[in-house]
């Protein structure tokens, strides 16, 4: 049980909370299902457009808003664009923003946490107070707010998502650093004259590696959710580019016409992506938690 305490995911992150619910499943099954789903999502986004090389933006006015058929496997939207091609292109747009954003958030979170944990006491107090302020609001609210301030494109979205979603990881890294830095091997290294950066790089990061990987996985899910939600609200990926969130929103705009083929596929892939991230993270958590 003590392992579970140190191995817990960052509090507040939706994917992390989801992961904790899944304790009844077998860890191996969880990890395998998660990895398979992750592979499927990556395949859709990065390989899909090449396997199904149909121009997602080609307009077929005579085939507007058609249900799935042989010519258009996933139907067409209100302009007569191929929904399957849009879904694949939307997958690429979603992943090329959310994956770098998760990496950026990860780097910022680890750096912030280490700085707070290893720096002087006044810096720690200042950084943690700032963290509390950012954590006082759900990240989607802050995201919505900042998304209204900036010109939205892939770069700004990556920066936005990256610089908003780090706080929970930062707190986790800081607390871990605090717990680890009093341990004998760290003190011994310090006595031998090692600098803070050396200790952070060689000892702390290595000890924390499992927690970091698990939380990094959860962060990918959170980034995909945040981007999809933002796009759904019209403040994410901007037209003419499409993303899973904006595709769902387009379908919802004309929902009175019952375009179920425009709503179910993007919803299901976002669902699958979130499930993939949390199952993988949870699987890794169970595996490393038990090995310790």
């Amino acid at each position: 049980m003590s392992d579970q305490l140190t191995m817990t995911a960052a509090p507040g992150a939706p994917a992390a909370r989801l992961g904790r619910m899944f304790t009844w499943a077998s860890e191996r099954g969880t990890l395998i299902t998660g990895l398979t789903l992750s592979g499927f999502i990556l395949f859709i986004g990065f390989v899909g457009p090449f396997i199904y090389p149909v121009d997602p933006f080609a307009i077929h006015p005579n085939h507007a808003l058609e249900a799935p058929s042989l010519a258009f496997p996933f139907g067409t939207d209100e302009l007569g664009r191929d929904e399957l091609a849009l879904l694949l292109s939307g997958g690429l747009a979603t992943l090329i923003v959310s994956l770098p954003a998760a990496v950026l958030a990860f780097v910022v979170g680890v750096a912030y946490g280490l700085a707070s944990g290893l720096g002087p006491a006044w810096l720690d107090r200042l950084l943690m107070r700032l963290l509390d302020a950012v954590l006082a609001l759900p990240s989607l609210i802050i995201l919505l707010f900042f998304a209204s301030l900036v010109t939205l494109n892939n770069t700004s979205l990556i920066l936005l998502l990256g610089f908003i979603s780090w706080p929970s990881l930062a707190r986790l890294v800081r607390n871990e650093t605090m717990a680890q830095k009093g341990r004998d091997f760290v003190l011994a290294t310090e006595q031998l004259g090692a600098g803070r950066f050396y200790i952070a790089r060689v000892h702390l990061l290595r000890v924390m590696a499992p927690i970091l990987v698990v939380n990094g996985t959860f962060m990918i899910g959170d980034a995909i959710f945040a981007l999809s939600a933002l796009s759904f609200l019209g403040l994410g990926v901007q037209p003419p580019q499409v993303s899973w969130g904006s595709l769902l929103e387009t379908g919802l705009d004309i929902i009175a016409l019952n375009p179920w083929w425009m709503i179910l596929p993007p919803g299901i892939v976002v669902f699958a992506a979130l499930l993939a991230a949390s199952l993988t993270g949870q699987g890794l958590l169970a595996r490393w938690g038990n090995r310790r």
Partner: protein
């Protein structure tokens, strides 16, 4: 108890002040600014200067910041750029809708979570708990916009038994309470489905944990019937973590609220925030950030107070 509440409030208030300060400076240091969002990107320099002068944006930023707090101290949150109405009155109007929406959702979620959590805790590890667990996981991973879309597709478009959006039917001259209620069904269902899965999980875990404690065995040994133990002892103790989670999830329910209110065009605070973000109406946005910050603090405080009532020991921790 009072000291704990006071210190919690002081530290949370500081967080909110920092947050609002961050938000304020971000808004006012961003190039472009409100003048462009009112006049459009092609506005001339003269008209921009004129609008800036009218909105008080031509004085140094620290002065604007001081003025903002000065006005807040007098109960004024500024004027909406686009709607030209006082933000306070606007917020209040939307806040009422949101409060109705959330109170119904939270009450419903809590009752459902207690029922499901009890089943899950009592049948821990056996099939009834597993079925509930699978549903919890499934609904938790579902993004709120997808849940809302499916519900609309099914009940409003397919079966045509419930309205798809709005707060009342605009074609009715005098919409009764029934019309309001019917328009609440789908948004409330969405939020409840999403909230229940995590709440009931926490409650189920707590019930399971409490059932393994010694006082349960003692009561059973005394000859107290199992349902009585459950109702008189276990529920009361297991409610504590549920209350804490409920308090903490206030702002998260609001997040779901932004998406749900936008899907259903339900004119609440989340919807107002969404529209203001799209039209860059900063006075409203800053005020909403402030309101949600306060809601967060209030949620935590309420949770502490209720926990103090449920278990007097909590007050001394």
């Amino acid at each position: 108890m009072i000291r704990m509440v006071a210190s919690r409030m002081a530290s949370s208030s500081l967080s909110i002040v920092i947050l609002v300060t961050l938000v304020f400076f971000m808004v006012h240091l961003t190039p472009g600014g409100p003048a462009y969002s009112i006049l459009g990107q092609k506005a001339t320099a003269a008209s921009v200067a004129e609008v800036n002068a009218r909105l008080g944006l031509n004085v140094p930023i620290w002065q604007q910041y001081a003025v903002w707090w000065w006005h807040l101290a007098h109960g004024q949150l500024g004027y909406s750029y686009l709607l030209s109405r006082p933000v306070g009155a606007l917020l209040w109007q939307y806040e009422i809708n949101t409060l109705v929406f959330y109170s119904v959702s939270i009450i419903l979620s809590t009752v459902l979570s207690i029922i499901l959590g009890l089943i899950q805790g009592v049948y821990y590890g056996r099939w009834p708990a597993r079925i509930i667990g699978a549903f919890q996981l499934g609904f938790y991973a579902l993004p709120p916009f997808f849940v809302a879309a499916i519900l609309v597709l099914w009940f409003a478009v397919g079966l045509k038994i419930l309205p798809a959006n709005g707060i009342v039917d605009l074609r009715e001259a005098n919409p009764g309470i029934g019309s309001y209620a019917a328009h609440l069904v789908l948004p409330v269902t969405t939020i409840t489905l999403l909230t229940v899965c995590s709440l009931s999980r926490y409650f189920g875990e707590a019930v399971h944990e409490e059932l393994g404690k010694e006082y349960v065995r003692t009561a059973a040994a005394k000859g107290v019937a199992f349902p009585t133990i459950l109702i008189r002892h276990v529920i009361r103790n297991a409610l504590r973590p549920l209350v804490t989670i409920l308090g903490l999830s206030f702002p998260y329910i609001f997040t779901g609220g932004v998406i749900v209110e936008s899907v259903f065009n339900y004119p609440g605070l989340g919807w107002l925030m969404w529209r203001s973000a799209l039209s860059q109406d900063y006075p409203i946005l800053i005020a909403i950030v402030l309101v949600i910050g306060i809601l967060t603090v209030v949620g935590n405080l309420l949770a502490d107070l209720v926990n103090g009532l449920l278990d007097p020991r909590a007050s001394y921790e």
